[in-house]
Symmetry: C2
Subunit: 552 residues, 2 copies
């Protein structure tokens, strides 16, 4: 068989069902082989960047490695943002790019580019394979790297001639499951003891808790400690849990800030957060001040970066939580005895429970739309001023219900993520919350959703400006450059031209259950455009404070 | 002043009038400073990738360094394709990206990414500047590198705190003009003598001839040798010049192939071509076989790559041509004595002169549209099957009239190039020839053109499939994957929703001078959509032969 076929057979055997990208001459062996392999469906996108976001979300919500493909040259470089995004999000994506034939390297063949070094710093592994016999082994090696340890993207560049070369009938193994990272039991025991010895404390939950939420809640209830989450971890702890205080960090809640800044807690347990800028309110030193700090993570590099950690626990977070629960049980703690004590504080000051139904503003629009959507809806949230409102105001009604990317913050990532999420979990309602800026960057992927027959609701907050930039400059400099204003476009009308169901909202009273239901029940994607220029300051003051602190 | 201001003062003083990109927190010092500096207008685009194409075309058509900007993280990585494109096209573009504050590096600040190594292999120079005192000197150094020797892109990553830091009132120099690369007079003399000694020969002209066309023609007329151009150099030699045979290479002309493959010429003069795949019909060995070969180029690395060059002449091409003309004159040749002898051969076999006005196909549509457009129209040509038709069939009616990118071949580059070209030369009519695939990748930049008030006609060849991929697979594999088909969208209707004048063509008789005139005379961009699925094989057989040669 051709080397390209061997690669696809390995991927097929390892459970890969979609490949996200754009075909071209330099990857034609792959796309031609797919003709004979209906088990793998290519999702051909409008821009490779969006393909890379889809692949990342698909990996996240299937729990498997996903695959993204682009041609030599521009197709490959168009995937770089997505590689960097997957790296930051610890998502295992195998990026395949075409390359010019080995004997034409350096001779300006069409779309020639040495992509391996370009990808090197934004992936865990990036190589070009110049001999056909090495291709399958390199793909297997890269795939194992992608899912091992701290998962992340990998990249293999494959020259055209290598793809087409005959490799006979090689043994095709399947991808070995990721080996769990088992934490040191003595470290866990020491941490459990140390935490128990403290009178009180709190728990900061990052997105590393994904897949271990039940255990986290069990542990929190045993300790009877309040929980705050990072913005990125919004959606993991149910809104109605009595120990949940709210979001700490970017666009977070005052109650959470108060707890961290003034709370008397003697200990802090950090679970699955790298303690980056947005998770810590700009590296707020109060977080660990006078607190005995335990941090659970599978990424060794996050310990003792900015904060001194008393006991770092390296290992898969779920395992660490399970072992710690067991140790606490042995030490005499049990679940549920005390957690009601916190009920009076629960969500105090969390403005998400307060609604102003009068004013046509971002907050009220988002809350009203949420009221009309199924409670198990997953929201994939794009980058813009609306993101701060989502984090601050929207409710957490079901598990794993938000996909928020305040880390790498690539505009349009919410659009690709919606498609990846829907393909991964077709039964779950998916709503993308995006803006006009993101829509004009990657919104044409709504056609990809249409081609795939994916019923996704795209809520486009259309303020005809780069709102986050506008508000950021407004707050920091008291003036804004006219270039932040954008052409005012009727996006619902554009959707109609694309034969995509749509509705344009111009006021609070236009958001009705009929409209939402009809858009949700379309047999493909739909657009709810919200025409609204919100001049309130979005709840993102901390980011502005951070930016303003330079040059003073 | 702030360090960011010093940078902008340097750019302003050096003639920079536009900065192409997207604002964000991590580059806010630049955008806020621009508020006080109306001499530099930011062109805020929908995707940074398109900004990078605009900047490249703007550099090309102004003959000056241009500037493109993006935020830390995704804004930066979104510029990588454009950097690689500018590198391949030898265009001096200064890429500026934001970076997280120096003291937060490695701490997961928002959008953190170490962009310098990502850009390193796709630029001439890529660094991060961590001290404010170094910023202006590094910008100056990078700018000089960009325009020196073989021009190309450079990249500087600038942390937020560095941008905002006070640097006092530094001396702000202006960018020094590029030092000409003066060829060795003895080499030129030897080359001139050697060429004169040959009974006959031919001239292969690449895009390096740009800016030296008159001298090239003078030289050709002195030697009385026929000229073939590379695909990328289409548009430099006027169609009606008696010595012009046509295009050799991708989508080229039979007469040019015959000349190279069977012509008796004893010599070959290569001017400004790297002799890459598309310029040489896949490294056709007949090009230099039994021919004494002289190659003029300013890029030392292009000599003796695939072809043995008897006399490589390193230097600015215009200078080399001027000096060679002088040497030939001294040796007794004069211009115009003999060139009529070739008249009988001129453009023989060049199918671009043959028209079939009956069939509604890509070729006839393009020729008919061209007939209705001003003769000085510049065509910026995107990537798709239509590109092969443009190269093969469209006429060269004026100087420098095509912008074709068969080298790096980034989809959507034609759209950005149209905008960069129009900003650089507002008086020249610009028509972008693009396809539905490219339109869905970067077509939202038509809103950028609208915001800038740029009257550009976008001709969108809409076949509702990835045509080049479709035909490539058809020809090579005799089958095509269903995923190459795209959602059929009425793009003219989308344009109408964007309040952009548009017309959808469904047959030959619908292309009228009235329609073209009304679209051309709009006060901003307009779209002529050509709904057409052309099942003829495009004239790109050589690319398919190249791809098919692997794995046989």
């Amino acid at each position: 068989m051709k080397a390209a076929r061997a690669v696809l057979e390995f991927l097929k055997g390892s459970g890969v069902k979609h490949i996200f990208g754009i075909p071209a001459g330099s990857v034609n062996a792959f796309f031609d082989t797919l003709y004979d392999m209906p088990e793998i469906e290519p999702v051909v996108t409008k821009h490779e960047g969006a393909a890379s976001y889809m692949a990342a979300a698909y990996a996240k919500y299937t729990g498997q490695m996903s695959v993204s493909i682009g041609c030599s040259g521009p197709g490959g470089t168009n995937l770089v943002t997505g590689a960097a995004n997957a790296m930051r999000e610890h998502l295992p994506v195998l990026f395949l790019t075409g390359a010019v034939p080995v004997n034409t390297m350096g001779l300006n063949a069409s779309q020639e580019l040495d992509a391996a070094p370009v990808f090197r710093t934004v992936t865990k592994y990036s190589v070009i394979v110049k001999e056909a016999k090495d291709l399958l082994p390199e793909i297997i090696k890269a795939s194992q790297i992608a899912i091992s340890g701290v998962p992340g993207p990998v990249h293999i560049a494959i020259p055209i001639d290598v793809q087409h070369a005959e490799v006979g009938n090689p043994d095709i193994p399947v991808l070995q499951e990721r080996k769990p990272m088992i934490p040191n039991p003595e470290t866990i025991q020491a941490a459990a003891k140390a935490l128990m010895q403290r009178k009180d404390g709190c728990i900061l939950v990052g997105q590393g808790v994904r897949g271990a939420v039940d255990s986290l809640i069990e542990l929190a209830e045993m300790l009877n400690w309040p929980i705050v989450t990072t913005p990125q971890a919004k959606g993991y702890i149910p809104e109605n849990h009595p120990l949940l205080i709210g979001v700490f960090g970017f666009a977070g809640h005052e109650a959470a800030s108060n707890l961290i800044n003034e709370g008397a807690g003697q200990a802090l347990l950090v679970v699955g957060s790298s303690l980056g800028e947005t998770a810590t309110n700009n590296y707020n030193q109060n977080l660990t001040k006078d607190r005995f700090t335990v941090q659970l993570d599978f990424d060794q590099t996050v310990f003792n970066r900015k904060y001194e950690i008393d006991i770092p626990v390296l290992g898969d977070i779920h395992l660490s939580l399970l072992m710690m629960i067991e140790d606490l049980r042995v030490l005499g703690l049990s679940r549920g005895t005390a957690h009601l004590a916190f009920e009076e504080n629960a969500m105090e000051g969390n403005e998400s429970l307060v609604q102003d139904v009068e004013e046509y503003n971002t907050k009220n629009v988002l809350l009203n739309i949420q009221k009309l959507l199924p409670s198990n809806t997953r929201y994939t949230v794009d980058i813009g001023e609306f993101m701060a409102y989502v984090i601050h105001h929207m409710k957490v009604l079901d598990y794993d219900s938000y996909n928020i990317n305040v880390h790498f913050g690539a505009m349009g990532v919410g659009i690709g993520s919606a498609i990846g999420s829907k393909l991964a979990e077709p039964e779950r309602p998916v709503v993308c919350i995006t803006g006009d800026g993101c829509f004009f960057m990657h919104g044409m992927e709504i056609l990809t959703a249409k081609e795939q027959g994916l019923p996704i609701l795209f809520v486009v907050m259309n303020n005809a400006r780069l709102g986050m930039v506008y508000h950021g400059h407004s707050l920091q400099f008291k003036r804004t450059h006219p270039s932040f204003e954008q052409e005012s476009v009727n996006i619902a009308e554009m959707a109609a031209a694309m034969r995509i169901p749509s509705f344009r909202v111009n006021g609070m009273d236009e958001i009705s259950s009929d409209i939402i239901a009809s858009l949700l029940n379309a047999d493909g994607p739909a657009i709810l455009e919200v025409a609204l220029r919100d001049n309130n300051n979005p709840p993102m003051g901390d980011r502005v404070k951070f930016l303003s602190s330079f040059g003073k």
